[in-house]
Amino acid sequence: MFVNQLGFPLLSLLIGTPLVGAVLIGLTASSARSLQRTIAWLFSSINAVLAVYALTALQPIGGYQFVESIDWLADIGLKYAVGLDGINVWMVVLATLLTPLALYAARNESTHQKSFHALILVLSSALIGAFVATDLLLFYVFFELTLVPTALLIATQGTGDAKAAALKFFVYPFVGSVFMLASIAGLVVTHFQQTGLMTFDSVIISGAVLNGTLVMDESLERLLFAGFFLAFAVKTPLWPFHTWMPQAQVATPSNGSVDIAGILLKIGAYGMLRFALPFFPNAAVWAAPAIGILAVISILYSAVIAFGQHDMKSLLSYATISHLGFVMLGIFSQTIEGITGALITMINSGLTTGALFLIVGILAAQRGSRNREDFSGVWLTAPTFGTLTLITVFASIGVPGLNGFVGEFLSMQGAWLAPQLGYGYVSFAVIGIILSAAYLLRMYRGVFMGAAPEEHAIHEPKTSEIAVLSLLVIAMIVIGLYPSIITSVSNASVSELVRSLTASSR
């Protein structure tokens, strides 16, 4: 058993706090609505504070910090092992910050308030677990666990064809991740055969890949890589594995959408970066051109579809898929620029798309519709709201000075520099920045510009919602003008990762 240098289990606290909150909410009476809100908000805020503390305490050096490692099933080498570095710390910060913000801005849109709050907290816990787990099986457990609260959320409180959407949301990623489980088994067994050590510890296994004690022959490596890839590609989602996502988004209650788009989807890309690359560096280089093509298709195809969507939530879902195409392009460039770009794009997508989902939630709550054609001239009747939305839209379009640009530019620059990708991919991916302007401005123009209708005019949202949006907008501007706030933390870890990739690929 080993506990980190801080002397207290920071990461376990991060995982555990929301769970405790969820249990407490479970103990309240269903009618105690304000108590449930308070508990949810309190525990998620504590978690946010913890995450910010972790961010400030983290040293800007490579390798995991605040490591906790406890033998779980020693016979098969299974450990409860968690750690934080310059990459996943951002995922944790994003997850913990967005949750209280989304809860704080939440309207009483749900008749199942008790379960809504409890499930969001459970989801938050599972997400943090997946981001900090360094043991493969532990990661797998958390990875699957995120499906349960989300599926329940959609099934019990969703709109439209919620049951079907929930089923698809559960089954599709689940089937995908089963292939990962098989690959994990294959990887661990291979590692055991070659080194005599039975372990699920990702640090040990990737170390063995790096120093050559674990050598997989070409076709085995590719096969195992494919298992991981499939799971993460579905989860990300990457074209053509994406169809569950818009359907699930449309069915999810708005505040849940913030979490799903903001954080849940990043597990796929994160897993690709954290596990698929370092375990199978040669296969990743081998597959990069094909995955690059899928990424470019994701970017363009989703942007084309987003242009024609009437349901704004569906539009934003396709926009998210488009952005995640840039993430994949950056990751498989396997360059410092590209991976940093992917990381920043993941954060951006959480902030910006999260904010846009909130905005659509606000609009839908007032008008009872998410069809963009049901709105007009919102900027006239709700000027502050309109201006905040405008900045968010331009951040998402990728105007420099705001956050979106930094991530997209670095991802594309990385892809350009990568020998396995190159300018051909970028020349097509760059069309995505034109199409994103087209679909987002079409939405903004229709909804916020034009004359205000006589009836159903949208009024300024609650102060709490304006405050939340303002905070998100400030974050967009800060990251846009001073991205070092992220890169100073992530640079060491990303460089280490890229170094190990180049060293271990033949």
Binding site: V304, V426, G450
Partner: protein, 655 residues
């Protein structure tokens, strides 16, 4: 930082401050206008101080870098958020803040009583800031920040009256705003690719580097002959690749063929915005970009040739389109496109100083024309159709006089500003580059220029009022002095670079290194001929449209020339139908395509057949295998099993 550096840093800082003050705190219309005007005036003061300071340095040290903070430092990429100031930047800052100040002051009266003056003035300050960042950046990435920043402000200001369903002549402001941004994005994509290519080759995006000699400019020669294989597209040198990508950016921002379609619609914004953004400054950013990166084009003659072709064709198309318009602002909009074509053609011929000279004089006289047109529209209570005007010389005497000055300058009539700058482009092309075809087309375009200005002056000011319902009055307020000062500029702007004196040329020499032009008698004769032709053409148009053609000019009726030229005239009027082609063959099909991809590919093919189809078939197999108590769990288990069997089987038999 030295005193000079402080002045330089203040130039963009004051408009930014003005933006924040207006956007966040100040609520009264009067204070909004005053703060915004003072902010730009302050920047103008700082710009003058900086020019004086720069002038005090010896020529070789007239380039000042002011690094502010590290913007992006990832891997090998290291971009400083830095300002750069040299003679080229200096003239651009003078133009932007000088003309900008006048337009701000003009706006105070023009926008009086507007529903959202606070936003208007905040955007205007933000625009000036972004434009200053564009010209004051020491690297391409910060330049791109300004580049997209001005695009954003252009979007906001075109869409200033976003709630209106239509403004004259039938443009939807919100649509025009989005169109401008999206079309510009096509160019911006080229700029992004150019940056990535430059970084991948030279490892830096800085023009000159911190020591003035380590930027990518000084390393361009390294790879001017490195060829890149583009597969079936042939091969191209790296530098040419960069140049062509930059041209794409230029074509978008400076409204050149084939992307100029956004500029006529951009007239949906308030007229002072058209003057500042869509005539004097933002649209000239492309010209500035070419001049700033002229080392690239010097090494890429193939790309430079394309600049000339694009510029020349744009000059001609713009002029023919301006000829046929009845909307007073649309004449000027197409005229701007045409004049930008002149500048771009000049850069393609390597006449960078001439291009800059024309940029500066055009900034003065086109701002004047737009503001004067704005004053007319204001005085006629939002009438823009010239068919309803006529006789305004009597009712609007001040505007008439300044308009004449602007028209003379634009037409290239001696001794107004446009004569000198346009002449320099033509002379350079005729005598130095021997580009005879180009010059013939440009010369023809400049005759058309004089013609459409003669037509416009006749339709607007000559004769009697055609529409007696209009109560024409001249009430200028704060609009008066900006008009008069700009008229002085339009009259005397040629003094900047008189032949034999060439002040501007000498000032830009440390940047452009162009040899001093020697003026010959031949050039003088050439200039005399061109100005005589222009005068004749303008006079002819004035006579036609104030004389025999006048009775045919009625609201809703075609121009008399339409009778003779028919569809050709109609084609000119529509900007040679390029916008129509885009609407018909790109925009509308794209809308349909989007729905098609969603319905057929996404819902039916991928989701319907691949995803649900495979789910169903797996389910069917699973049901065959067992008496399912719970079909779903069985399905998962079965899939899981298949995966394990595959992997284990492979490990046993494969390894």
């Amino acid at each position: 930082m030295t005193q000079l550096s402080w002045f330089i840093a203040l130039i963009p800082a004051i408009p930014l401050l003005g933006f924040f003050l207006n956007a966040l705190f100040v609520k009264s219309e009067k204070a909004n206008g005053t703060i915004a005007s003072l902010a730009v005036a302050g920047a103008f003061g700082a710009a003058i101080a900086a020019v004086v300071g720069l002038n005090g340095l010896d020529e070789a040290s007239r380039q000042i870098s002011i690094p502010l903070w590290q913007w992006l430092a990832v891997g090998k990429l290291d971009v400083t958020f830095g300002l750069y100031y040299d003679p080229l930047t200096a003239v651009m800052t003078l133009l932007i803040t000088g003309v900008g100040t006048l337009i701000h002051i003009f706006s105070v009266s023009y926008m009086h009583g507007d529903a959202r003056p606070r936003r208007y003035f905040a955007y205007l300050n933000l625009f000036v800031f972004s434009m200053l960042m564009l010209v004051m950046s020491d690297n391409l990435l910060v330049l791109f920040l300004g580049w997209e920043g001005v695009g954003l402000c252009s979007f906001l200001l075109i869409g200033h009256w976003f709630e209106r369903k239509s403004v004259q002549p039938g443009i939807v402001p919100s649509e025009a705003a989005a169109k401008a941004f999206v079309v510009n994005r096509i160019g911006d994509a080229g700029m992004l690719l150019a940056m990535m290519l430059i970084f991948s080759r030279y490892g830096t995006l800085s023009f000159f580097g911190p020591d003035g000699n380590s930027g990518f400019f000084s390393r361009l020669t390294e790879s001017s002959f490195t060829m890149v294989n583009l597969g079936s597209l042939g091969t191209i040198s790296v530098v040419s690749g960069i140049a062509f990508l930059l041209i794409l950016a230029v074509v978008g921002k400076s409204a050149q063929l084939p992307l100029f379609v956004w500029l006529p619609d951009a007239m949906a914004g308030p007229t002072p915005v058209s003057a500042l953004i869509h005539a004097a400054t933002m649209v000239t950013a492309g010209v500035y970009l070419v001049v700033r990166t002229h080392m690239v084009f010097d090494l890429a003659p193939d790309a430079a040739t394309w600049l000339t072709i694009i510029g020349t064709m744009t000059a001609l198309i713009g002029a023919t389109a301006a000829l046929t318009q009845f909307d007073i602002k649309r004449v000027l909009a197409y005229s701007t496109i045409s004049q930008l074509g002149f500048m771009i053609a000049a850069t393609g011929l390597g006449a960078y100083t001439a291009a800059m000279f024309h940029l500066l004089t055009h900034g003065l006289f086109k701002a004047l024309l737009f503001l004067a047109a704005g004053a007319i529209i204001h005085g006629l209570h939002d009438v823009q159709d010239m068919r309803r005007m006529g006789g305004l010389a009597k009712t609007m005497p001040t505007i008439y006089r300044v308009y004449l000055v602007g028209a003379f300058a634009l037409a290239g009539i001696f001794p107004f500003a446009g004569f000198w700058s346009k002449d320099e482009i033509l002379v350079h092309g005729w005598f130095n580059s021997q580009a005879i075809t180009t010059i013939v087309v440009l010369l023809f375009s400049s005759l058309l220029t004089a013609f459409y200005m003669g037509r416009q002056v006749a339709l607007t000011f000559a004769g009697e009022a055609r529409d007696n319902e209009l109560k024409a009055h001249e009430h200028l307020g704060s609009m008066k002095w900006p008009l008069i000062l700009l008229a002085v500029g339009a009259a005397l702007g040629g003094l900047m670079n008189l032949p034999g004196v060439h002040t501007l040329h000498d000032w830009l020499k440390p940047v452009l290194h162009e040899p001093t032009e020697l003026y010959t008698v031949g050039m003088g004769i050439f200039a005399a001929i061109t100005t005589l032709l222009a005068t004749g053409s303008g006079y002819l148009a004035y006579r036609i449209y104030s004389g025999p053609a006048l009775i045919k000019i009625k609201t809703g009726e075609e121009d008399p020339a339409h009778y003779y030229l028919g569809d050709i005239w109609k084609g000119f009027e529509l900007g040679w139908g390029i916008d129509y082609v885009y609407q018909r063959f790109i925009v509308r099909p794209y809308r349909a395509f989007s729905g098609y991809v969603y319905e057929v590919f996404d819902v039916q093919a991928i989701d319907g057949i691949l995803v649900e189809g495979s789910a169903r078939s797996v389910g069917a197999i699973a049901r065959l295998k067992s008496q399912a108590q719970n079909g779903n769990v069985r399905t998962y288990a079965f899939v899981f099993l298949i995966g394990v069997v595959l992997v284990v089987g492979y490990m046993v038999f494969g390894a």
